[in-house]
Amino acid sequence: AQSVTQLDSQVPVFEEAPVELRCNYSSSVSVYLFWYVQYPNQGLQLLLKYLSGSTLVKGINGFEAEFNKSQTSFHLRKPSVHISDTAEYFCAVSGLNDMRFGAGTRLTVKP
């Protein structure tokens, strides 16, 4: 079975600063990795995904993530955040028949 660990429950940053949200996974099979964002009182929206190929994947809103198999990590990064990036971010891993989520990281961007 696969699982996901998000190492930071809350990440406060100032506007225009870079940010990294950390995610580690474990799985006994080939994995597919995802980052989702959830804005207040809204559903989940896909930011980006890694299925195969290039380990650096780019997503919407200027986010990118790097798949590192040796470190079993899939950290999310953005070089310059905006106030509007304030949200909950979930890392997820998908195996054969399900998708499991990490505990989430609350990103708060301050002016």
Binding site: Q42, L46, S94, N97, D98, R100, F101, A103
Partner: protein, 114 residues
């Protein structure tokens, strides 16, 4: 992509009653999932619903409490039975088109049990 419609969007229910949540997808999907999300918490997988077979429940969730139907490739229901205040949560329907594909989410059903 897939667009998921979930009904009702919210409800307030009396303890001891049951509520059935409907999930409609605008295209055929292989896998459908039901999650529960407590306020400020992550998503906990309740069960995976595959068309033509019994739902597969995660540890801590049982069919008698959360019966699921999956009559075709575009529709599923989750029933929360014999509700108690502890069942108050957001219930999310999700769908995927196969292994390794992203999951799409409905807007969720916000359930309050009084």
């Amino acid at each position: 992509s897939a667009v998921i419609s979930q009904k009702p969007s919210r409800d307030i229910c009396q303890r001891g009653t049951s509520l059935t949540i409907q999930c409609q997808v605008d295209s055929q999907v292989t896998m459908m999932f039901w999650y529960r999300q407590q306020p400020g918490q992550s998503l906990t997988l309740i069960a995976t619903a595959n068309q033509g077979s019994e739902a597969t429940y995660e540890s801590g969730f049982v069919i008698d409490k959360f019966p699921i139907s999956r009559p075709n490739l575009t529709f599923s229901t989750l029933t929360v039975s014999n509700m108690s205040p502890e069942d108050s949560s957001i219930y999310l329907c999700s769908a995927g088109k196969g292994t390794g594909t992203e999951a799409f989410f409905g807007q969720g059903t916000r359930l309050t049990v009084v």
